[in-house]
Assembly symmetry: C2
């Protein structure tokens, strides 16, 4: 089933930008990693070393997430932006680990909140360990992240990441509130994904500039880069939930649908629908009364009205904005790699 149109061909509203560095699939991330092999290895060592605890279940459960093989996208952003800014020290390694710990903590709590059974294609922590330990191990990783920041000693970094953590929680609660509400305006949906996803991307990038002691223009440019990249990333994620091959995405297709989660594809399909379509969405999303055939019908309705394509078009717009945010930085291999990552966030849906 392929309801995903190529956004770069389907988007009349966005200028087509020839970019020699557009990567296919995960090549952009591989290329970024290739520029930071020692940093990423050091970051991974820090992650493993600092999730240790005399309480064995903590590293066991944390390792379950680590072993599930996240792309380390968020810590890579901290590592990359620090080097982009010419930073020559090692502080960014520990702070990248903080970013990953905060991310992992939110994953653990999200899976409990969503009662998800899969995470990155493997059984989620709550599916294996129940709900209790993931809540508490998430708390541990969150606290440990702040301990690492205290060791680093920058109140500016502590301010950025504590603010991001509060914003993430606000975004998650807002998502809960809008969960079954088809009258959610698109702007409110954007607030949700800015909070739950993009805020940490933004913080991860801003921290890179802060450790490099760059002026305000550059720290805010990188925060903007991360924010736009994160929004694009989440838009694509929400589109893929109605389009992806489960084996590729590592998540169950239709998860959002089954939870009655109001994402942009649903909002657009609801708005474009006739009376019968709207009745269908109200039953399945607002009342979450669903039968076997409903997911197929949802996919059909989305394909028919172009909701997935439109969602990916929005994502492409934010990816372009992300790349534009890099304007203050001169051309370099790292800058080109970050441009490619922005393209990758959208290209992974092709």
């Amino acid at each position: 089933m392929d309801v995903v149109a190529s956004p770069s061909r389907a988007s009349p509203a966005l200028p087509r930008r020839p970019d020699r560095h557009v990567a296919a699939g995960e090549d952009a991330l591989t290329a970024l990693v290739a520029l930071l092999p020692d940093d990423l290895a050091a970051c991974n060592r820090t992650i493993v070393a600092r999730m240790a605890s005399p309480v064995e279940l903590i590293p066991q459960l944390a390792a379950h997430i680590v072993a599930a093989g996240g792309k380390r996208l968020r810590p890579l952003l901290t590592l990359a932006t620090a080097r982009l800014c010419g930073y020559a020290g090692e502080r960014h390694v520990k702070l990248a680990a903080c970013v990953e710990f905060i991310h992992t903590a939110t994953l653990l709590h999200d899976d409990v909140v969503d009662a998800s059974l899969l995470r990155r294609g493997m059984a989620s922590a709550n599916a294996v360990f129940g709900n209790q330990a993931p809540v508490l191990v998430g708390d541990f990783l969150f606290a440990r992240a702040f301990q690492l920041m205290v060791e680093d000693g920058s109140l500016i970094v502590l301010g950025i990441l504590s603010q991001a953590a509060a914003t993430i929680a606000e975004g998650e609660v807002l998502q809960l509130v809008t969960q079954n509400d088809l009258s959610t305006p698109e702007a409110r949906y954007l607030e949700v994904i800015k909070g739950k996803t993009a805020a940490l991307f933004a913080a991860a990038c801003e921290v890179g500039a802060v450790v490099a002691d760059r002026p305000r223009g550059e720290t805010s440019a990188l925060a903007d880069f991360g924010m736009n990249l994160g929004i694009a990333f989440q838009l694509v994620d929400d589109a893929l939930d109605y389009a992806a091959d489960q084996s590729v995405l590592g998540k169950t297709i239709g998860d959002d649908f089954r939870e009655g989660k109001v994402t942009l594809p649903v909002l657009l399909a609801f708005q474009a629908g006739d009376a019968a379509d709207r009745e269908f969405w109200r039953r399945t999303i607002e009342a979450t009364e669903q039968n076997e055939a409903d997911l197929d019908r949802a996919l059909h309705l989305m394909q028919h009205c172009g909701a997935i394509r439109a969602t990916l078009d929005r994502a492409l717009g934010f990816a372009v904005a992300a790349k534009d945010s890099l304007a203050p930085f001169p051309d370099s291999a790292m800058r080109r790699a970050l441009v490619d990552v922005a393209d990758y966030t959208v290209s992974r849906a092709r």
Copy 2:
């Protein structure tokens, strides 16, 4: 049903200390509050102001906990220890609010982990809001606590409270691991309650000395005071779960029993039991196969072997140690009030 013996009369191992300031019931806390009326009012204002969020469910749910009327024991400790140390500023108010936010976050998460239906005699947040929002609002309050600490600007305070937060999570996970294990040594049980309860008491007290810029001897004396006080407090709490009138304690009697939680009264009763008793404890606590009459039998066995009294004796010992920790501080109304609070933690079980 009254299986609680007065520990001061029943404890041959502990010296009887005549103390003119021993308070009955909650008088000791009332007396402490009376010494800090402006500080506590300012702290309460800070708590209400800083749990605000544009996402309305967050202050709504947080207010549910605040309205449940906790004793504010932990923030009171920060306020009191700062004044005990002669501190004349206002920083302790915000930091006391941090302590309460961290405590509230752990309460919200605990209730989800324990699936508790009551908290302080009212419906718990998860009973009213489900499991999802309390997890996320706990995360928000935790993040907000760190934002307040960053505003305060002391890396020492940030270090103390981030360490405490990690230790709390470790204690909670350790409790989960030992939950149905009757072979848990008493020392391991002590590690659990040091982590899940006493670490925050210790941090709350240490922070008071830190804002007052006192030397190491005094900061560690107050950390010891809080640690011993917190252990005594939790021991009494665990005893009351098998002894308290629900309307007084604000929790359901037998909660720990029904969860198969291995607390000291259970460990002592198991160790003192004959083969039939041990079989009973294995069935009810390890296998959590329980019927209607089991709680009464558990209470009877505990009364018979003196497990509650012995638990309260241990608590009295830690309360004495807490008072001894105040040795570096000269006599003052605040010192006397803290001594009375130590007595109160045990006297509330009489």
